[in-house]
């Protein structure tokens, strides 16, 4: 493999008799032009705008204003919801994937789980909010049935779909299957021989997990959890359709700002966007790094 790559990187000299100006780069011009115009430039200009005042002069005021109460709270709720749904989603998704791969279940369950996960992880946005309102809302089926059969009022427990836990529970509907999809290849990489070898050497089930499986799996696990975090942090449609603007998460605040300049400061809006990119960017970079680490074992 290594040899092959080297050979490809240095084509035989006969193929290029004279060193002339290569026009190869022309082939990727459309791609770079497109991504520059519709991906890099728009985002880049926002990031610049975050460090400018209304007249275009450099300032750090916008960044400082992010730490005022409204904005800080919005970030806090967003981070809390994303953390909760990422951690729970990662844990439950992991258990589900492990149950199907290593749990001694019938074979047909695996492709079924994969297909259903593919569907559920893509079933997000506004319709997902509708589905959960019809399930756990005030007149939702589960709410009504609990009342009818067990005389149990969901509302009396303080549960409200338009709240932190309501949103987390809703997000889990696409977070868990996403985790199943990302985690399955990693779990497949756990070789049977490792388990056999450790049990021949007298290791208990716990020791096998503690010293073999977990050290191999944790980069994938943590990395996937970070991806889930970024996934729910940038989400807006579900939350907006579910709660209107009653839950003050950062995407909804930004949405309101774009719609009607609720912060009364355009550049503060840019800083809000910058903060989001920094958070999702950091978690994604960490994810890529962890993924590279995990691939060492899972080849």
């Amino acid at each position: 493999m290594v040899v092959q790559t080297i050979v490809e990187d240095f084509p035989p000299i006969a193929a290029t008799p004279r060193r002339r100006l290569s026009w190869n780069w022309l082939g990727v011009v459309p791609f770079f032009a497109f991504t520059a115009l519709f991906l890099l430039l728009p985002t880049g200009l926002l990031m610049v705008g975050a460090f400018q005042d209304a007249d275009g002069y450099f300032t750090l005021n916008n960044i400082r204003n992010l730490f005022t109460e409204t904005i800080w709270n919005a970030y806090k709720i967003s981070i809390e919801v994303s953390l909760a749904s990422a951690l729970l989603g990662a844990l439950l998704g992991f258990l589900l994937a492990y149950a199907v791969i290593g749990g001694g279940l019938p074979r047909w369950l695996r492709p079924t789980l994969m297909t259903l996960s593919g569907v559920a992880s893509n079933f997000a946005g506004v319709p997902l909010a509708f589905a959960f309102l019809a399930t756990l809302g005030p007149t939702g089926l589960v709410t009504v049935l609990l009342m009818y059969f067990f005389n149990f009022s969901l509302r009396s427990t303080g549960f409200n779909l338009l709240s932190f836990w309501g949103l987390t529970l809703t997000y889990l509907y696409f977070q868990i299957p996403l985790m199943v999809l990302i985690m399955t290849p990693a779990l497949d990489g756990l070789k049977k021989e490792w388990r056999e070898a450790s049990s021949i050497l007298g290791a208990t089930r716990w020791q096998y997990w503690r010293h073999v499986a977990l050290p191999v799996l944790w980069p994938s696990f943590l990395g996937s959890a970070l991806l889930l975090f970024a996934n729910s942090f940038g989400a807006i449609a579900t939350a907006y359709a579910l709660t209107g603007s009653s839950l003050n998460i950062v995407t909804i605040l930004l949405y309101a700002q774009i719609r009607g300049d609720v912060l009364h400061d355009q550049n503060l809006g840019y800083a809000l966007a910058l903060g989001m990119i920094v958070l999702t960017g950091a978690s994604n970079i960490f994810y890529i790094w962890l993924r590279a680490r995990s691939e060492r074992w899972l080849k």
């Binding site: 728009p42 439950l92 893509n122 319709p127 959960f132 940038g234 989400a235 449609a237 990119i277």
Partner: protein
Amino acid sequence: MKRGRVWSWVAIIIGAIYFFVPLIATFEFSLRMRRGTHSFDAYAVVFSDQRFQASFLYSSVLALATIVVGVLLVVPTAYWVELRLRRLRPLVEFITLLPLVIPAIVLVFGYLRIYNSSSWLPLTASERGTDILLMFGYVSLSLPYMYRAVDTGLRAIDVRTLTEAAESLGAKWPAILFRVIFPNVRSGILSGAFLTFAIVIGEFTLASLLDRPAFGPYLQLIGANRAYEPAALAIIAFAVTWACMGLINLVGSGARGTAPAR
């Protein structure tokens, strides 16, 4: 080992409950429109709604345009990178992953800043211009999935040999690209296409903030104003998602991907 299997079943059953109960509840809810009995009235109302037809058609056309532009952008790029510019691969891959880092709402905020009606390229000044901007936005959002699906397909075939064979038979570049490369990565392209369709059809953020009459904003509007129609719409949206994923499985070997929640 036996105990482990019991727990596996428990996990599967809980997962199945989590997956199916909201679907069943939503379906049941969508049948409640007529008082005292179950009926498909909500579906009848939805399907006969002029705005439903218009917005669904609008989003479908937009999704198709997104797929065409996305494929024309991604396939030649991925092919060329694989064939001639391998050094650029990490950079190209990095750029295609950026839409996962940049939330859609941030992207559209940027669009509104640089393509507003008083800018150097006032795309949002006209309806058609905004449509095009929205479509380009969707191409950007679907880039990670489209690129990965196509790239996986390209790596599975021997691009270099195929190209040389076509060249030695006298084929020109367009013929190589459209009659050799495209057919060989068809399953990858189709996977990417169906995934793109599933993303675009119900997308809310971009369409709403660019103020276009797409399906996502229509869903939101109905959700805020009606009782039973939203449940029917959720079932319809679920059916569309299911169809897209089913088609991806059907076209087979292409890369499997998932969409972020937007």
